[in-house]
Assembly symmetry: C2
Homo-oligomer: 243 residues x 2
């Protein structure tokens, strides 16, 4: 048991949760390493939602609400960390929720779908086909799901898949704590925030934004600014340690 | 199989290696997350040995060579990543090699000792006792090993243990890619470098340094400078992305 007053209580509990999910086969061993990378960048951003990240989250809500066919793509880490957050965002945004895995097995897909359903999500699980321009298992998706989407929210995505979706003309919203990653630089809109903080903020904005505010956010967003501001936050925090 | 021309070939191969070691029980699931954190900071430092890290490595060699009873403390991640590097450094420095684990089981200790021995290290594995001022399993060590050491090299150590060793009056040399971590800030000397790059550099310096150069390095080192310089490198790399 981790004592509640441990300075890293939240982070250690999250790690334990991921380790449990890894034992069940929901999270892969590579997923644990990826989580560690995220932790480091989250540490640099102060483990909080910055102003520019909140702006990105409100813009994400605007894009999802204005979409004709929005899809939330869920992988193992996202399901393990934020199944409830996905379910709530689905309720507020009306998006399809679809499981898409890099390390794809039938059993893993089912485990993750069940985890999402237990958290209250309605999972779109039609017949998967190899539809994305990618060589590996991430090419699989569903014709009436991700393949037909105009706006896709991909929390914790890999760079190849993000590029493939953008090349298909989709609006891709990524959640990625590393503002230098290929995913972050390729996505249409990048939210540099931790996924369990980002999803509730997007959900709230879905409920709050007027049509006029949505249009204004969509017309004015600048992903270069959002990435630059995240980098500036990290640089400032590192520099502060020099004082 | 990862294609050799993949931009992240080395990093992906290392992750595969750790995942294999996790399946065998050498590396813990928490160890995989810790590796991910290291990867993020290594990325920020440019995945290379900086000038100040090389200075730290040469100073580490000087401290090990000047010690009466130097010990290299090895955990699961270090053994998985750098068993050969540990064996070679032992040859050059004459240090004892002792296995010390946060998640300690007899089976894990034996697996790691065997891995080190297969790589050519001579492992000190006398009777372990609960000798360090710590509440968890990391308190275990050996009376004639770590407990009696004057200089301890702890690659990839946790903050509590580093503090305990320093409080016992030991000279603690840490290898830690996060210059802001408690370990990095507590250690007597901190090497901000990736462990498979750091160990061969320390080994070479053990063989090369004259007595005079060793004395000069020991007399002149400034850990605040070493940490500050690592932070400056990371800040510069982040800022560069803004150009």
């Amino acid at each position: 048991m981790i004592p509640r007053d441990h300075p890293r209580y939240h982070s250690l509990r999250t790690r334990e949760r991921l380790a449990r999910c890894a034992k069940k086969g929901i999270v892969t061993l590579e997923g644990l390493t990826a989580h560690g990378r995220g932790e480091a960048f989250d540490y640099l951003i102060g483990e909080r939602t910055t102003d520019s990240a909140l702006l990105a989250e409100r813009t994400a809500a605007a894009l999802l609400k204005a979409a004709h066919h929005p899809v939330i793509s869920v992988n193992g880490n996202t399901a393990a960390l934020a199944a409830r957050g996905i379910a709530n965002l689905q309720g507020a945004s009306g998006a399809l929720v679809e499981v898409n895995l890099f390390h794809r097995t039938k059993k893993r897909v089912e485990l993750i779908e069940r985890l999402l359903e237990d958290a209250g999500a309605e999972v779109f699980s039609g017949e998967a086909e190899r539809l994305l321009p990618l060589s590996h298992d991430r090419a699989w998706c569903r014709r009436d799901g991700m393949f037909s989407a105009d706006v896709v929210l991909v929390p914790l995505e890999d760079g190849d898949r993000c590029e493939a979706l953008v090349s298909m003309g989709k609006t891709v919203i990524a959640v990625d704590l590393n503002p230098l990653s290929r995913t972050a630089r390729t996505a249409t809109l990048t939210i540099v925030d931790e996924v369990t903080r980002a999803l509730p903020n997007i959900k709230s904005a879905c409920n709050e934004l007027s049509k006029k505010e949505r249009d204004r956010l969509i017309d004015s967003f600048d992903n270069n600014y959002l990435l630059s501001d995240a980098i500036r936050e990290m640089t400032a925090r590192l520099s502060h340690a020099l004082d």
